[in-house]
Symmetry: C2
Subunit: 718 residues, 2 copies
């Protein structure tokens, strides 16, 4: 859960200003495509736009050359299915043997790693001309990456579907590009994992970090210790066959599967079954709350290590990945402090504090992992002078802490900045870089930074909502980890993200389609228009405030408005930039006026219609104050625009009254917050500043308005 | 596929006029709920509305009394999860032990059948008063049915969620209420089957008829004959473990699982692996087309029966249901006619024709099934004097043919009228009754009619679209098979269907939510508004015309507009009844005028915006003529309404020109047809009849318009 320095880090993140278009070496010709028409995500390392296009018709065909295996053929079949789905063309299912006749030639060198690993070569080249496309890759995994790029190239117009002529040479910036899914706090069914693995492959992520145990649940079958799931899972766990199924599914897509068994803390669910491993007598119950809890394994007893040797040995055989994640985070050691035997042990061994005791524990666990031929990975807390150099640090603290470890020779991956459960917009994550421009690392030291991982912590996600919490924002993180460092244009990222977002739907993801379903259930009606208007400009509160403001347990339904509303509102983003453009048109205030008035009108209508809707549907009760705020926001916006249009300045009283209403609307309700208030505040302040407009240039005036409208009290991330 | 008499039967179906409200014995009090506020589907056998309401709050609790087992507890847990989902209340997960303190008391007599069977007692009573609800059922299955009714009772208003006070006594009219899913022509993943089993349980269906083999695929693992799936399934099949998982899942919901292995025809996929069983030498290839194909098992060789004995024996052990379906349909015997050995065999045995030869085959198969303790069920064609009386006839021919069989003492189930793949509206299916009011059967004979089955044939459904082809229409069939015969009010059925439709979404069904996704993919855009307008008033062509008009193979994508558009357009239904109401308001034509103009305006705008949209997205090319028709329909409607409003009669030329345009718009394009044309035709004809209006009463005039507007050439089912 690793929260402490997250926000500070985000605020300090360097915003890089270079534009995406600098990446494209373009041959300037009349009918060539422009970079703004290319919809890659992640952007490839090198792209050369050519003249011409390759038509995609029902006679599209694929040939393989040199190396081919089942994994490659299955990857091609999946690509063909998606291509057919988009184009509604019946494509030949069989590969052709005549390379000359094929539309796409896939030329592969070798299989790649038998067990997906950090050493995988994922590079490829892709050339498209008028006649055909040719994909070259040293390994099948590189070819799989290229097939995703191939699909992202598909375009259509009046003349039909086509690929633009292009030359792409591509390889990842970092070899470790992961997504953590916490299936412990809320269990996620197999199909959720599978569709998310498909989505990971679509944006070239390559590590599925499977967070399998927590205070709230133990999710993997152990044949050695069946009580772990019998008593610690509510019956919701993966059998070993299912684990193998996921590993095979991931491998088919060139994705590693790294399990995490979080110890010594975060282990209540283990202790439900085996209280004798705990640092307090028990009995233990599966934790239903959210937060940091006391239960921890007892690091002083040999029994604990015997158990871990057997259990981790079993898991080491089940999971082929070379790394095993042992968590290691957020153990505050309260149980240790209270246990006289543990205190005596520390005294006897000369262990000074709980950090020292955990280091002792980690050393013991390390030896167990080494015995079972696994390298250790853990959160920041595992860093300790005794840690061997082949361990990996996963940093929730930030790139500075990661750089410190790198200087000591430790490999590390960044997760600070990629905590997607905190509900920040994609732009914030996009700005987080494992090796920022201002890094203090030498080129040699920087090699220790292996990449990063987005973390989908599971407190407030269900199978219905998890996709919308992961996607599309994680695609922006995937780009950060794959694409060259200078790919940093936020606006272009959002343009492409919205296209990729739709393409992700073809993989069965529910991030878009469950939105309407959840609103229908909340409204108990098919007519959800006003609710949809409201939901489109509110977001769940950021960081860990949801639980503070709207306490729930792990057994609570995740079907409320806060669950239906989604992070990173595109509607709000568009409204906010429209307001800026409108204000920049001082003193005319004509640009986008009718558009803004239309939006405010929609808000006003929605706020009126929401009341009766809430009366009928008690599940929406908590939306009532939001409906009231919506009304206030719409009215403030209307009145401000009316002043601006007429050029008559409002009274100071009016200004104060409106700002007070907007301050009220800024306060989260039902763990939801409006993400358009600041723009309406700008309108109100601008109206109040009309007299100044006469005394300065429009540019000066606009600058002043923008400054006034961004008081330090406003939420940091809006 | 059984089509021949389907349409005739539908046309002949008796429309019963008695209203649903006759079922409700109502105590007339001031604040009691009315039948129009009750949203059952299927309607229970007996309902008494009481005064008062039972509030549903976060302290809702359940106690079980008398018998309880894991199946009942799991059923209660599922009900609680859905209740929590709808109400956004955190409900206690554990059962309470104090019956007096419980909101809902579940009082069960016994487990019910160990293997779900025809003998299951599914009855229950449910009483709700101000203080608590009490559910009584002789078996756990009855209790599961009652829990669905319980959820359908949930209502909400300003004061919160509640159940109306009520007394319900319920049991099914028929013991066999099935849904056939053809997973052979297109494979359906496990989660598709599971969510459809959940939906079946929600509307009290109790037989999952699993159509597992076809010319186009063999979908179940045989350990005795592994080549069946190795060569005949494209790798898409259910392992025996998965079959057991589905059977357990179904049993948990009180649903039988009856497998069908269609023989001797429909067997190409068997012969791919075992050509020696065929009536022609082979080799065979998996069939990719749709239709009736020649391959058939050779009924003259002992080898065939040896194979079937081993195979059906293996399947008999895998599937615990007492019935095994052997198909038996649509074998035209062309391979038999051409095989000299088979002809010689027939001569030798004195078998006159192919029907006789198939009867011989069935007799041999029957003995095999008897040996493995299974009763035989097959389509109409298996009916033959030698058939034992414990066999069941599944009728695609209709209730008359079923009645004939019943008179001979055969049990039967009706599927004619329930062919949901033919894309007819729910109302048509609703009118089909296994024992029509005018039945020639005695009460004793009628007992042989066990019920019916909806049939989801798989030619044109994918995992993305199948839910929308099954639901919500199948809920109307479920009501026909469960509720008393006099529950026949179509309008009230549609009212309740739209509510149940939404509730079905909470089970993970995609029938609503994939619609938007498919339109987004077709438009390659998030802005699908005009396309949605078009799609909302077109339906796929009925019966088997889709394949004729838009040939495809089983390998074609099912992502076109014909796949996105859905059966039984609610938008069209509402438009059509609004037009009737508008015309009935002669000579004022004021009622609903602005509403209709608004709709026509939406169509006109959509038709204008569709052109550029289609230009951008070649996947929509085939929608271009539909966009043109939409424009013509909107213009004809506008002009007709303008004449009607002004009272000025149009010229005959105008009338003819409009009708010609509408005739063109009636012609299906891209296997899609408008289902609003007839109403616009009414408007045009009405305008043309304006001079007559002066000469007759409005009622006479309206009658004349309706007659003129329904020419015999119009599609039968609109």
């Amino acid at each position: 859960m690793k929260t402490a320095k997250y926000v500070n880090f985000l605020l300090a993140a360097i915003v890089m200003a270079s534009s995406i278009s600098t990446l494209y070496a373009q041959t300037p010709t009349a009918n060539a495509i422009t970079p703004a028409q290319l919809n890659f995500m992640p952007v490839p390392a090198s792209v050369q736009i050519q003249t011409g296009r390759l038509p995609i018709t029902g006679s599209f065909s694929v040939a393989v050359k040199n190396y081919a295996d089942d994994r490659l053929r299955a990857g091609i079949a999946r690509m063909l299915k998606r291509l057919a789905g988009r184009t509604v063309l019946t494509l030949p299912a069989d590969l052709v043997t005549d390379e000359g006749a094929a539309t796409l030639v896939v030329q592969c060198g070798r299989a790649g790693e038998i067990i997906p690993s950090l050493n995988e070569n994922e590079s490829y080249t892709l050339e498209v001309n008028d006649k055909h496309a040719r994909l070259t890759a040293p390994t099948v995994v590189g070819a799989l990456r290229a097939l995703e790029t191939f699909l992202q190239l598909l375009q259509g117009d009046r003349d039909g579907f086509y690929l633009p002529a292009i030359k792409i040479q591509d390889q990842p910036r970092f070899p470790w590009r992961g997504l953590l899914i916490d299936v412990a706090r809320h269990y996620e069914p197999m199909e959720v994992l599978k569709r998310n693995l498909d989505a990971m492959a679509a944006v070239k992520l390559n590590v599925f970090h499977w967070h399998l145990s927590e205070d709230q649940g133990f999710r993997v079958e152990s044949k050695k210790f069946p009580k772990l799931t019998m008593l610690g899972s509510d019956g919701l766990f993966y059998t070993q066959d299912q684990v193998r199924e996921i590993i095979a599914y991931a491998r088919d897509r060139g994705i590693r599967v790294m399990p995490e068994f979080d110890i010594p803390g975060h282990s209540t669910s283990w202790l439900v079954a085996y209280p004798e491993l705990g640092s307090a007598p028990g009995p233990y119950k599966i934790e239903r709350g959210a937060g940091i809890f006391e239960p921890a394994l007892d690091p002083t007893r040999e029994q604990t290590y015997k158990f871990l040797d057997t259990f981790l040995g079993e898991m080491a055989a089940l999971f082929p990945d070379e790394y095993m994640h042992i968590g290691g985070d957020e153990n505050e050691g309260k149980q240790w402090d209270r246990n006289p035997q543990i205190q005596a042990f520390m005294k006897e061994k000369g262990i000074k504090d709980n950090h020292g005791l955990q280091a002792y524990f980690n050393q013991r666990v390390l030896k167990i992992l080494q015995k079972h031929h696994k390298k250790m990975i853990g959160w920041d807390e595992i860093l300790h002078p005794d840690l061997p150099k082949d361990a990996v640090i996963q940093s929730w603290r930030g790139p500075a802490s990661l750089a410190e470890a790198a200087k000591e020779g430790y490999n590390g991956i960044l997760s600070a900045g990629y905590y997607i459960d905190l509900v920040f917009p994609a732009a914030e994550h996009y700005r987080a870089d494992p090796i920022p421009l201002n890094t203090s690392l030498t080129a040699e030291q920087a090699k220790h930074i292996l990449g990063g991982e987005a973390t989908m912590w599971g407190e407030w996600v269900s199978p219905e909502t998890i996709d919308s919490r992961i996607w599309p924002r994680t695609a922006a993180i995937a780009e950060r980890l794959w694409s060259p460092r200078n790919v940093t244009d936020v606006e272009d990222m959002y343009r492409r993200l919205s296209i990729i977002n739709r393409q992700l739907e073809e993989l069965g993801l529910t991030h878009e389609k469950n939105y309407g379903m959840m609103l229908r259930r909340l409204a108990a009606s098919d007519d959800t228009a006003p609710l949809r208007t409201l939901a489109s400009i509110i977001e769940p509160v950021k960081e860990y405030r949801r639980y503070q403001q709207r306490p729930q347990t792990m057994l609570s339904p995740l079907t409320g408005l806060v669950d239906a509303a989604r992070p990173d509102s595109e509607t709000a983003r568009r409204f906010n930039s429209t307001v800026d453009a409108f204000l920049a048109d001082a003193p005319r205030f004509a640009l986008y006026r009718s558009e803004l008035e239309g939006i405010l009108e929609e808000w006003r209508n929605a706020s009126r219609r929401l009341g009766p809707m809430i009366d009928k549907s008690p599940a929406l009760q908590e939306a009532r104050p939001l409906a009231n705020d919506l009304s206030a926001i719409a009215e403030a916006g209307f009145e401000a625009m009316s002043y601006l249009s007429s050029g008559d300045a409002p009274t100071t009283d009016w200004r104060q009254a409106q700002l007070a209403k907007l301050d009220e609307a800024t306060k989260p309700k039902a763990a939801l917050e409006f993400v358009v208030v600041n723009s309406v505040r700008k309108l109100v302040i601008a109206a109040g500043e009309l007299p100044q407009l006469r005394l300065m240039t429009a540019v000066e005036w606009n600058k002043r308005v923008m400054t006034l409208a961004n008081p330090p009290a406003a939420p940091a991330m809006q």
